[in-house]
């Protein structure tokens, strides 16, 4: 008996989100055709003061990615090249996606585009997008009008 596993907390909302996504996928008649996954897959997190975007880009070096931000739109583009000098007929299996890619992501809020930073570690691109001042939740003091 291990007790409660704190590493993976049960998050009912996240589970619900996932289940709803699955449900909508299952009633979509074009789902098989539409299942061409966008490359690269992207997750977006809300970390309070900023948004954090992470993208799975294995085999890509930091210099091979171009990031542009305009207003609430973030565009990433790059190219993933197959290793050179390997003949096509020597491949026994080819499952890894290769080639040019572009992705445009509309952010949920305004961000301070001048302070956006990006880091690349072991195949994961992490972009930190600080929220714009007016997009942050603000505390409003209620005064009594007596």
């Amino acid at each position: 008996m291990k007790g409660v596993n704190w590493h993976e907390r049960w998050d009912p909302l996240r589970e619900l989100q996932r289940e709803m996504g699955r449900l909508f996928d299952s009633i979509d008649p074009f789902q098989p055709q539409r299942h061409v996954r966008q490359y690269p897959p992207v997750n977006v997190y809300d970390a309070g003061e900023s948004y954090i975007l992470s993208a799975q880009l294995p085999g890509v070096a930091a210099g091979d990615v171009e990031l542009t931000i305009t207003g609430e739109t973030l565009t990433m583009r790059g190219e993933r090249k197959r290793s050179e000098g390997i003949r096509d007929d020597s491949y026994r299996r080819q499952e890894r996606p290769m080639g040019r890619w572009t992705r445009t992501i509309t952010l949920p809020d305004r961000v301070e585009s001048a302070q956006v930073s990006a880091a690349f570690t072991s195949g994961i691109l992490t972009v930190t997008l600080p929220k714009a001042e007016n997009a942050k939740p603000r505390h409003i003091t209620v005064t009594s009008g007596s």
Partner: protein, 141 residues
């Protein structure tokens, strides 16, 4: 960007830390929750096979490669790339573990398998055993 590229040790046989009671999972303290099959490429060269696997998020510390009998398995435990408490607002991939296993043929020289990890891509070199190398047979007149 400077990328350190240390070689990863390929475990041959069962790891000593893992006792028989715990089964095939390489880590005893955390069970495998969701394991994803990473995409791989395999190509053959004159020296042997090269296997490349996309393991975004894998580092030398969280990747376990094991060779037991003729089964080569890779297992990476991927941690969340964001600080604790960050709320997921859009999800296209699940952060979890990667697992895949392969059956090696007898033509692979098991003692000389090498592995390197760079930018989330694992490259395993599986050299041909001497027995499997093509040999020219001299015909004497």
């Amino acid at each position: 960007m400077k990328v350190t590229n240390p070689s990863i040790r390929v475990m041959v046989g069962t790891q000593p830390a893992q006792t028989a009671a715990q089964g095939p999972a390489p880590e005893p303290e955390r069970e495998v929750h969701r394991a994803f099959t990473p995409p791989i490429d395999i190509h053959e060269g004159p020296e042997g096979l090269t296997l490349e696997a996309d393991l975004p998020g894998a580092t030398e510390n969280n990747l376990f490669i094991q060779l037991e009998d003729n089964v080569l398995s890779l297992h990476a435990r991927i941690d969340l790339p964001v600080p604790e408490g960050a709320r997921l607002v859009h999800e296209e991939y699940y952060v979890g573990d990667f697992y895949r296993s392969f059956i090696l043929s007898d033509d692979v020289d098991r003692e000389h398998i090498t592995a390197e990890l760079k930018n989330g891509v694992l490259r395993l070199l599986l050299p041909k055993s001497d027995r499997a190398r093509s040999r020219r047979i001299e015909i004497r007149s």
